[in-house]
Point group: C2
Chain length 718, copies 2
């Protein structure tokens, strides 16, 4: 332990003499104090009178120049006189508060409540006559703060060397963390003490298609738990990361202190700023119960309402995909045996077909048939367009054109065929990281989508970013993602973005930016595996700022079914796969397995057919990061409820109390649970299905096997 924890009483006393500004949450439980010490800004945070965050420094360091050109300038020594972290005097203080209810276009609940008290402190640096505003918003579930840079004579343009926002915790805590990386979050979660992070860091990653690790730093959101008699769950994240790089958290493991570390561009610059402008919000969600953290909408509340004038085209969608068979290696994205192709020169119709191209007319029609028969709305098809022969790893700028189908993919016929059966095809725009090329083609690509009636696109950014030297999480590339979102909105298209940056609540502002991947999804079960507790950590981390396209629904979890002797397998039971449809909020939700596998388990598949993808209400019944999640949700615009429960590598029992149901009403529950002999390794496809009439007074005990789960579909009895 680093130091004797300073009690709240002492802390308050310390502030008496130094003119601190205090801010309380609407419910009075949180208190934030801001003060300047020798011109340096600090804040702290208490909850129910106990210190959550000790005095923590704020500020940014800048490069001298408006624009930095070359490494020679970056190598110049830092000079504190350019920085915005010292020499400040308080010149103004404004307070505000808000208590509003807003309706997300798609969401976990019908209404999101945005209730906070606000303190905005204007600080002037006399030596340079520059002013900044530090704005704090204190909610009943935690604190958000950001820097604001008003337009002014001496502050119009600058380049950030680093943002040094500190979060200084008084004690060691348990942490669920990922290694920091400028390009990927596709790592396994680690569960250690904060103090143990450096020792574990070097063993906490495997290889990735694009990888720029940041030593001894961890990704945001970071989930923490102060253990003990009165546990406290703390989530450290950010909100509204727009026109700014995504941040990581540098770890001071001796002092339990974290500090922002922004994603650099290739020149080492961390944000080119023109005033007026604001940074993202740094967020600290705090609650005595894990469920409350998972339920927090603070990050969304800290984003701006959308300016879109028409959101009617945005709708929840369940979809299947010509996808999993490529992921596991049964089929290919590429059409031909060629290994070197030029989008603008190669005549693809003259190439030798490899015989394993999945996106062909015959197979796609079969998928359409199955998806339509089972009530899906969409079908994703990957590998439909030319360029997959050498799409990865060659730093190809012009790697795809996004408009030219392979010779065996009849885009008009297939869309007509799908539409006749009530299915919309979902477009796929893999960029191979060549974002500049995608921007070049995006208008034509979206025009093609409009022409053939696509209304959703899955984008992908596998591999290093072009412009070369940019990162997946650097400012330029983040601007790219939302530029694409805005352009897609012009064409009334929904976006599901893969290998892009994690969302930090932007779906409030860009409601057609439905989801991202930005974490290790189901595909990793074929690439090295996800640990059985993976899906119990994700809702506390990756999901805090927006939906993830995890792509659940794998029934044939053992891959030796396809390839005798193959050791790879999806590390859950089949029943847990069903439960993920409830525990993982995703309004563009996939059923990822092959039709042939669903056909063998049509009784279990019924749950995927029935489950909703968008909700009027959500109850986190019980949850503990790394252990289990039990969630109940009410389907949008209906009286139907769905419950999902999942556990980690340990078997576990849980009794659902159905008191969330309307009193006096009768419901028919269809229960999907692990079979008694089920086991995620030895017998994953064992499950029981039964129906039961229930009311709000019912309680049902569920037994989950190792990495098992249960799912319940509940409909009112008419």
């Amino acid at each position: 332990m680093k130091k004797i924890t300073v009690g709240a009483v002492l802390l308050s006393m310390m502030f008496v003499g130094v003119k601190a500004q205090s801010l309380k949450s609407p419910d009075g439980k949180f208190e934030m104090n801001f003060q300047l010490k020798n011109g340096v800004p600090y804040y702290n945070l208490t909850y129910n009178g106990g210190v959550v965050v000790e005095d923590s420094k704020l500020g940014l360091r800048l490069f001298k120049d408006t624009a930095i050109k070359f490494a020679s300038e970056i190598a110049k020594p830092e000079d504190a006189k350019f920085d915005l972290n010292n020499g400040f005097a308080k010149v103004d203080e404004k307070r505000d508060s808000k208590n509003e209810t807003w309706q997300p276009v798609l969401g976990e609940k019908k209404n999101y409540i945005n209730n906070y008290n606000e303190l905005a402190v204007t600080l002037n640096q006399a030596s340079t006559d520059r002013s900044i505003v530090v704005k704090f918003r204190l909610f009943n579930d935690g604190l958000g703060f950001r820097y604001e840079f008003p337009q002014q004579k001496n502050l119009n343009y600058f380049v950030i060397r680093e943002e040094d926002s500190e979060i200084d915790f008084p004690t060691d805590m348990k942490a669920w963390w990922l290694v920091a990386d400028y390009d990927s979050q596709e790592y396994q979660y680690q569960e250690t003490k904060v103090s143990e992070i450096p020792a574990k860091w070097d063993q906490a990653f495997d290889a990735n298609a694009s990888q720029s690790l940041v030593k001894n730093a961890v990704q945001s959101p970071l989930m923490l738990k102060r253990e003990g008699k009165e546990p406290l769950y703390i989530n450290v994240a950010e909100a509204a990361v727009l026109d700014y790089p995504a941040s990581h958290l540098e770890v001071d493991a001796q002092n339990f202190r974290f500090k922002t570390h922004l994603t650099a561009d290739r020149q080492g610059a961390k944000g080119y700023i023109q005033t007026p402008s604001t940074t993202p919000w740094r967020t600290i969600i705090v609650a005595p119960k894990a469920e409350q953290v998972m339920d927090s909408k603070m990050i969304f509340n800290l984003n701006e309402p959308t300016k879109y004038t028409d959101t009617s085209y945005i709708h929840p969608t369940k979809y299947m995909g010509v996808w999993w068979e490529m992921i596991i290696g049964k089929s290919q994205w590429a059409y031909s045996t060629a290994e070197n192709v030029h989008i603008d020169k190669t005549d693809f119709s003259k190439l030798t077909p490899n015989g394993k191209h999945a996106a062909n007319n015959t197979k796609v029609k079969e998928y359409i048939d199955f998806a339509a028969e089972n009530g899906f709305q969409g079908l994703l098809i990957e590998g439909w367009n030319i360029g997959w022969e050498d799409w990865f790893g060659h730093s190809k700028d012009f790697v795809f054109d996004f408009i030219t189908p392979y010779p065996d993919f009849d885009i008009k016929m297939l869309n007509d065929y799908a539409h006749a059966k009530g299915i919309k095809l979902i477009m796929h725009h893999e960029t191979s990281g060549s974002a500049a090329n995608y921007e070049r083609w995006s208008d034509k690509a979206f025009q093609l989508m409009n022409k053939y009636g696509y209304d959703a696109v899955k984008t992908g950014y596998v591999g290093d970013i072009i412009p070369r030297g940019e990162h997946h999480y650097s400012q330029w590339t983040i601007n790219h993602y939302y530029r694409i979102a805005e352009k897609a909105n012009e064409y009334k298209i929904m976006v599901n973005s893969h290998e892009s940056v994690r969302p930090t609540g932007e779906s409030r502002t860009y409601p057609n930016y439905i989801s991202a991947e930005a974490a290790r999804g189901t595909e990793y079960e074929a690439f090295g595996g996800n640990k059985p507790d993976h899906q119990t950590v994700l809702p506390f981390t990756r999901w805090m700022g927006g939906s993830m396209d995890y792509t659940p629904g794998i029934f044939q979890t053992k891959l030796d079914y396809y390839f005798p002797g193959d050791k790879r397998f999806v590390k859950t039971t089949l029943a847990k796969q069903l439960a993920l449809y409830v525990t993982m909020y995703m309004p563009l939700q996939m059923a990822a397995d092959l039709p042939e596998n669903y056909k063998k388990h049509m009784d279990a598949f019924q749950f995927i057919k029935d489950v909703a993808a968008d909700w009027d209400d959500t109850k986190i019944l019980s949850a503990e990061p790394g252990d289990y999640v039990i969630t109940a949700r009410k389907a949008k615009g209906t009286e139907n409820w769905f419950v999902g429960g999942i556990t980690d590598e340990n078997k576990r029992e849980y009794t659902v109390d159905f008191s969330f149901l309307d009193k006096g009403k009768k419901y028919e529950a269809t229960i999907y649970e692990d079979g008694k002999d089920a086991d995620y390794i030895d017998n994953p496809q064992s499950y029981n299905i039964y129906k039961k009439e229930i009311t709000s007074k019912s309680k049902i005990n569920f037994k989950m096997v190792r990495s098992g789960g249960f799912a319940v579909s509940i409909k009112p009895v008419k």
Copy 2:
């Protein structure tokens, strides 16, 4: 002197034992010999039996990886085993020849002759089983060679560390050179011995808006002169720089040896290559007379014929511009007094006008009136679109949208007004170096041009390139320029590109890419001055690969006319300004001065009104780099001839022999010459104009004062 010059006889003897491949020019005067010495490729070149280029090494060094990601990889030690410069064996040899005549869409002559003998040597590197082809083309005016990379099992993608093509001259020579820079060529020419370049290098540049100097290297084209009893003029340059960085020449001053130095990207990479592919041609033009070098079309011949199916929209254009008054500081590009604007947020109609915005409806109409009255076809208007308030130096990505006019520029009205008078407005797309942003907007920008009837655009790239870390001459940015050319062709638009890379004959392939700037133009007379000999060097350097938008025609050369006490002045006489219309080939030719200045000299202005911008024939009557240029040209599709003569800081006489005129025909010549008392410093506006009947037997002596000149307009007498 570094070494005893090896005579041609000895050289031939040396080759006897080592199986050299020899190639002769069609006229037999040049001989090129290729050989491998211990697996390393070498070539040499003789002219009339004398050594021009001694044995010079060829080859490229590569990075290990297909793609290099980060500086850490670049820092890895080089390893010769990855390189394509050693261990070669000759496995094949192919010979070819061509003698064709082709017609440029716009050109200095009706027909360009492309006559060469070719040798292609296939070299295999046994240790890696990679093959490359070194291709030589020997013309009657010099040598071109390049590397070709056939697609093959072991050579599909690679990243170039450096191309090491050497040109090893036997003796010291006089050189006209510019300091090498990855971003600018806007420097003053230096005239020194090759051996003196390093000593002079550090004093050979001034500041530029974007600058990345390459120590002790010089720009291409480089003009050389072997002095002595039998002088030889040598031009070292490149041709067809496409999908490859532009190159500079590293100087080994002791050994009179030059070596290619490619423009790096921010990661230090010098070309991302996918086979099959070819490098640009390295060119060495050699002639006993300077005029022959200037007359060479070898660089154009080494480019590919155009694939454009319609070039009918490409036409010579003389234009005026709302431009010079901004360059000298009399007016402004910006509309308002604001210093910080956001294209997507600022309401420009609410800003306070600065009162100096030139691109306003009233002024533009005045320019249109004057241009129309005097037979021009075009009028360029800069500063018409929002964003100029803070366009430069802030590394702004979204700096312009290219589609939104300022409040005082009525785009529809002005175009309608212009068209009614036979004038087309010329669009201006300044990117401020933000090329990625221009690509994003280019479709909409060209659509706007089509809508209002523009058919030519001046593009600009002032300042550091965005994507940050790219350079004006790096591969990515070069691809950008020609991508814009191709897109402009889709919209039937001609391009005149400023601050882009120097052309290397690409107008053959992209005939709508009319010209570039890529050197110090007239604008520099207001920014620090051009030396009086500047215009006599440019035709031997910058112009070798394509037209330059030099923007001649300044009559009011002294800027104290506008600003009492201003020391700036255009360092030529008025008559020399007229002569530039003939000595400087430019089919999109500007008359750069203000109407008010032309109105004072309508008699001299008549030459600019009469002179053509495109030609059926060109005769370089006499020229010496750095001293003088006398050129005669026959206007396209007419019997009219124009003659222009210019001199450097020395006064000079020249007698034009009109024997190029049709025999027996009578012509009326209108002569514009320096007044007897003219002087570029003391009395630049003194000129004589007189008419004279001439025939092919006529000779006229012209006296040019210091930095003076003469111009002659010749029409057949009917």
